[in-house]
Symmetry: C2
Subunit: 142 residues, 2 copies
DNA sequence: ATACCTGCAAATTATTTGCAATATA
DNA sequence: TATATTGCAAATAATTTGCAGGTAT
């Protein structure tokens, strides 16, 4: 189908995948870049983005939508739920999506192929609520 | 609570809300801007963004997360589902979310306040599938 | 040798913001 | 008159891309 070109091995790509796989906090491209510089000091941000894109195409990782205009990445490829804190941007995985009747949603004739189903809950995490109650308000983004 | 300052009326804001309310296709800021220019020729994109933000704060509209790096807007304030086409970026509203057991998802102690719950289905719409079958491939974004 | 990958820097895209002028209350 | 809102242009922020050199096959 798709003009699949043969891939060469790359240390950068291997390390990026390894890093994202070993985290549960859905790192952003920037966070991945900052970490990678410790392993491969002169890696460039462009390389990080390019590899995240191919890894996504390879279905090794998945992009997570957030309301804070920054893409986050994830290696859980099953259909699961995300809680996103509007204050600190934290993404928390939630497990119990079994009861979601996906099939019912997908009866619409205008839908073609389904790739992923994500339940996204936007709100504020307990930690941020606590901080706000105590008076000190901190925001990740303006 | 929030330092609520009194608002002045603005024709720009009224028209923007009216436009988003009368559409079902989740327009982007850019699309809203292009349309608004027909009504108010020298409106600026900054004004569109500023008003979308206040309308969101007023809970008159809602931002929709899409995987195509562009915010889309919506006036359905109930918790509903979105189908997003990865090819053309189209956002389709889906109705049957009743069976989703939101409460179960929300038992996690790290969750504080819940603002919105959105089920997002990423895939490809029937129209795009049809076009691809017929050979002519068109993409909104590279 | 060939095709893929990289680092770097410049380019692009989406969104935000400072400011002086204008509209609303 | 005081304050909110606007248009404009410049500033940011996130991501993408062209290119020349480097690396894997």
């Amino acid at each position: 189908m798709k003009n699949q070109k043969k891939m060469h091995y790359s240390r950068q790509r291997e390390k990026i995948l390894e890093y994202v796989q070993n985290r549960t906090d859905h790192p952003s491209a920037e966070q991945i870049y900052l970490y990678m510089r410790e392993e491969i000091p002169n890696i460039s941000l462009g390389t990080v983005y390019r590899n995240l894109k191919v890894l996504e195409e390879m279905k090794e990782i998945r992009r997570v939508l957030t309301p804070l205009n920054e893409e986050r990445y994830d290696t859980r490829m099953d259909n699961h739920a995300h809680f996103i804190c509007r204050n600190c941007g934290k993404v928390i995985d939630l497990n119990t999506v079994d009861n979601l009747k996906t099939e019912q949603l997908c009866e619409d004739p205008s839908l073609g192929a389904i790739y992923t189903v994500t339940v996204t809950i936007e709100g504020e995490c307990a930690e941020c609520m606590e901080i706000e109650k105590s008076g000190t308000v901190t925001r990740m983004k303006a």
